[in-house]
């Protein structure tokens, strides 16, 4: 840790730069009138201001000579400008739009508009995903086409991208890779939506920037913006759910000056057992978590630094736990609701620390991100005071990235990335799922981009090496040392005009077997199975073709995004007919070839005659099969999701901002693997109403009902499907969000 801090400090440049003041104005393209309260953000350094009533704004501080200025305000198309301070007149002209068509993306090779990326990147604001409030982040992500949620009750939610989950989906928080024992089917994201502003999803192995494993995709969480320059904000939010008698309370403090920016967040949530549609309760589905988060940013005109820290602690009851050979499903449902934690229980602690330094040059930027994550997982199963499993996972990471514009049309990004992981069982646990082990990853990559007026090409190569070493023999298996290497590519072409965008991307990726797949030999209470690994497993290799076509105008948007992912040496956990301790034995096995294919469709219509009405629909379909046509297990049900949103203008201080109806239809899943069972189709209906009380410090009030029809259903990806435990029934919620204090300097 000491060396880590020293290295981080070594990158702090010492230089004297004079402050600048930039004055500008935001105006409407047609009427030329001022646009008030627009958010104007210098993307490279996360520095933002709000335009005044007359549309003017002032940014003070040390700014790079060239930077990207993002301006957004409801009712207008987001403006992205590449600014060169020497020849900018300070005007930002916004076009009136009713559908947000384009966003700047940060997870791609370049910070570019979505339509310029040869990789399709799905970008969503968390506020949009939470228009109908969600109990956890996984539920919110599952609003995105092609993204699903595999859950263990309300407490554990893991994203599933294009049918793949767990280790095959790489999650990053502001560029820091999150490693939190995601190999376990019952280990959640280890993150809440606290302080997260938006999320970007790259589906499939298309990105070369984030290393091995992302065969399903990359989920890139981006923090909320800091307070506008010169302002301090103290905010509070509370959410209350009837189904779990649960609360989520959040507190945040943000402060921003022309020299530095700070954001501090804290939250605590507590939920009792959830109520089933029958009125009974899912026993031991209770959970609580606490979170703390801090971000600090500062910059000069040639350099910017961000330090970020996130702490997440969770105590999660494990429902459906049994060692009985004959399972009585009714025994997992209770007539009494409980809140006090009891065994079996899972206790998680995640610490995520990152320090990122960016250096701006005339023709690009260099950045170095150093990170340290520490995860501790403790499971109490049979005893209240003696854990069954108690393990640490420490991960030290680096990512060096160099973006360089050779000419205005040609640019590249090259980088080196790696991590050093240490898995250790403490001597407190009575069992071990994995041996103590080390893992070392290193990779280098280069991606070239060529932009013409209406089209762009991106192509790149990445070389990776992973070394896995177990430090001890384990359950009769000798010490293991394996070396995995891989070369991958990505090549894409995009052509976009005002009305349409066409994109094709061909890419490859790899995933080396995880230690749990190589060396597991033990009882995993969280998943209710005895798992046995195979030391001879080989690298999984994926090759994906992804095509997308987008048709859009001021009132209409249609997207179709088919894909085909061809995976060699696909590792599956396969049930068998053997039992150990009355639990089924599962073996990690390798399938020679798996075909994954499907498509996402989405439609957004905003009629010209009714500007208050938004109609959204999306359909996601996925199929996965072996070469011989046999289905692969745990592939999500096809989903049709439709939203009707009524949004209203401010006519008085207290007004309804929006009313949202959502209908989701999940079709029957009868393409199933051996030992898997069919899942029935189901419908869900949700509603929410969001109100704004526009005082000096506005108050936002939300209320809604989830699962209005009290539908009894078990999703195909539910980990409680084996005990036929339904999902929560009808759930009323209310929320209140307010800024307690807002001060100007």
């Amino acid at each position: 840790m000491k060396y880590f801090i020293l290295i981080a400090l070594a990158f702090l440049p010492v230089q004297t730069i004079f402050s600048q003041t930039i004055n500008g104005s935001v105006i409407d393209a047609i009427s030329q009138s001022a646009v008030p309260f627009a958010n104007v953000i210098v993307v490279e350094i996360d520095l933002g201001v709000k335009s005044n009533v007359d549309g003017t704004f002032e940014i003070q501080g040390k700014l790079p000579e060239k930077f990207t200025l993002k301006t957004s305000v409801p009712g207008y198309e987001t403006s992205i400008l590449s600014i060169n301070l020497q020849n900018w007149d300070g005007k930002i002209v916004l076009n009136s739009k009713h559908i947000e068509l384009d966003e700047i993306t940060v997870s791609g090779p370049q910070s570019a508009l979505q339509k310029e990326n040869a990789i399709r990147i799905e970008t969503k604001k968390l506020s949009e995903l939470n228009a109908i409030s969600n109990v956890n982040l996984g539920e919110a992500l599952a609003q995105i086409p092609g993204v699903y949620n595999t859950s263990t009750g309300n407490a554990i939610a893991k994203p599933v991208v294009r049918g793949l989950q767990g280790i095959r989906v790489v999650s990053l928080l502001n560029g820091l890779r999150i490693e939190n024992q995601q190999w376990g089917g019952d280990h959640g994201i280890g993150l809440t939506d606290l302080g997260i502003g938006s999320v970007e999803i790259i589906k499939g192995p298309a990105s070369l920037l984030y290393g091995a494993d992302a065969l399903g995709g990359v989920i890139y969480y981006i923090d909320e913006a800091y307070a506008p320059q010169g302002k301090s904000e103290l905010g509070f939010q509370t959410l209350n759910f009837s189904n779990t008698l649960g609360t989520i309370n959040k507190l945040q403090f943000k402060r921003s000056s022309d020299k530095s920016r700070l954001a501090v967040y804290g939250s605590y949530s507590n939920h009792a057992d959830y109520q089933l549609p029958s009125g009974k309760f899912a026993e031991n589905s209770r959970f609580s978590d606490y979170n703390f988060k801090m971000s600090y940013g500062m910059n000069s005109s040639k350099w910017a630094m961000q330090i970020r820290y996130t702490l997440n602690g969770s105590r999660i009851g494990i429902p459906g736990h049994t060692h009985d050979s004959i399972i009585d499903f009714a025994s997992f449902q209770s007539t009494d609701r409980g809140r006090k934690l009891r065994i079996p229980v899972q206790i998680f602690m995640n610490n995520l620390l990152s320090v990122e330094n960016k250096f701006f040059t005339k023709r690009g930027e260099m950045s170095l991100l150093l990170g340290q994550t520490v995860n501790r997982l403790t499971e109490f199963e049979e005893k209240n005071t003696i854990p069954g499993i108690d393990m640490f996972l420490s991960n030290s990471l680096y990512h060096f990235k160099w973006k360089y514009n050779i000419t205005e049309k040609i640019s590249f990004v090259s980088g080196a990335q790696g991590m050093f992981q240490w898995i250790k069982n403490t001597n407190k646990g009575t069992e071990a799922l994995l041996p103590n082990a080390l893992m070392l990853d290193n990779g280098i990559y280069s991606v070239f981009s060529y932009h013409q007026k209406k089209w762009s090409i991106q192509t790149g190569l990445r070389i990776d090496q992973r070394i896995v070493k177990s430090l001890t023999a384990f359950n009769g298996i000798d010490k293991l040392s394996r070396n995995f290497e891989s070369i991958n590519f990505s090549a894409g072409w995009v052509r976009s005009s005002e009305w349409q965008t066409f994109r094709v991307n061909l890419s490859s990726g790899f995933r080396s077997p995880h230690l749990s797949e190589l060396m597991s030999d033990g009882l995993h209470h969280g998943t209710l199975r005895y798992e046995i690994g195979d030391v001879n497993l080989k690298n999984e290799r994926a090759t994906q073709i992804d095509i997308s076509y987008e048709l859009q105008n001021e009132h209409f948007q249609f997207i179709v995004n088919p894909f085909y992912n061809y995976i060699q040496n696909f590792i599956t956990i396969t049930p068998s007919d053997s039992m150990v301790y009355n639990l089924p034995v599962f073996f990690y096995k390798q399938k020679e070839l798996v075909h994954l294919f499907g498509s996402d469709f989405s439609l957004h219509y905003h009629p010209h005659f009714a500007h208050w009405l938004h109609l959204d629909a999306s359909y996601s379909m996925i199929q996965a099969q072996e070469n011989n046509g046999d289905a692969i297990a745990l592939i999500p049900q096809n989903r049709l999701s439709s939203n009707i949103k009524f949004s209203f203008e401010e006519r008085s201080k207290f007004y309804i901002q929006e009313i949202v109806f959502q209908h989701q239809f999940f079709s029957q899943q009868n393409r199933i693997a051996e030992y898997e069972t069919n899942s029935s189709a189901y419908n869900l209906l949700h509603i929410s109403c969001n109100i704004k009380w526009n005082l000096n410090n506005p108050i936002f009030i939300g209320a809604g009902v989830k699962n209005i029809l009290n539908e009894e259903y078990v999703d195909h990806l539910s980990r409680l499907k084996n005990i036929q435990m339904p999902h929560p029934g009808r759930n009323f919620y209310v929320s209140l969000k307010m800024n307690l204090i807002t001060t100007k300097k």
Binding site: S232, L234, L251, F253, G266, Y268, Y290, F292, K340, L341, R342, I343, E382, K383, N384, T385, I386, L740, I741, T743
Partner: protein, 71 residues
């Protein structure tokens, strides 16, 4: 504003301390299996819970594993 900030941090630290303190003195009802039935040995808390779960209970020179569940 500074006072407010100090109060906020004091609240956060205090809340964390309270949360951290919760559950330190855990209690549970304990029993051991005997024949086809169980023998209740009553509520155990804190260190005695830890000891009985770790060491079990000796009855008539026979060591029995003890199972405890919160009530």
């Amino acid at each position: 504003m500074k006072k407010q900030t100090v109060k906020l941090f004091a609240f956060v630290i205090l809340s964390s301390a309270v949360l951290a303190a919760c559950g330190k003195n855990k209690c549970a009802e304990c029993h051991y299996d005997y024949g086809s039935g169980i023998v209740e040995i009553g509520e155990k808390c804190g260190d005695s819970l830890k000891v009985v779960e770790a060491d079990g209970i000796v009855v008539n020179d026979t060591l029995y594993e003890v199972h405890c569940h919160e009530h």
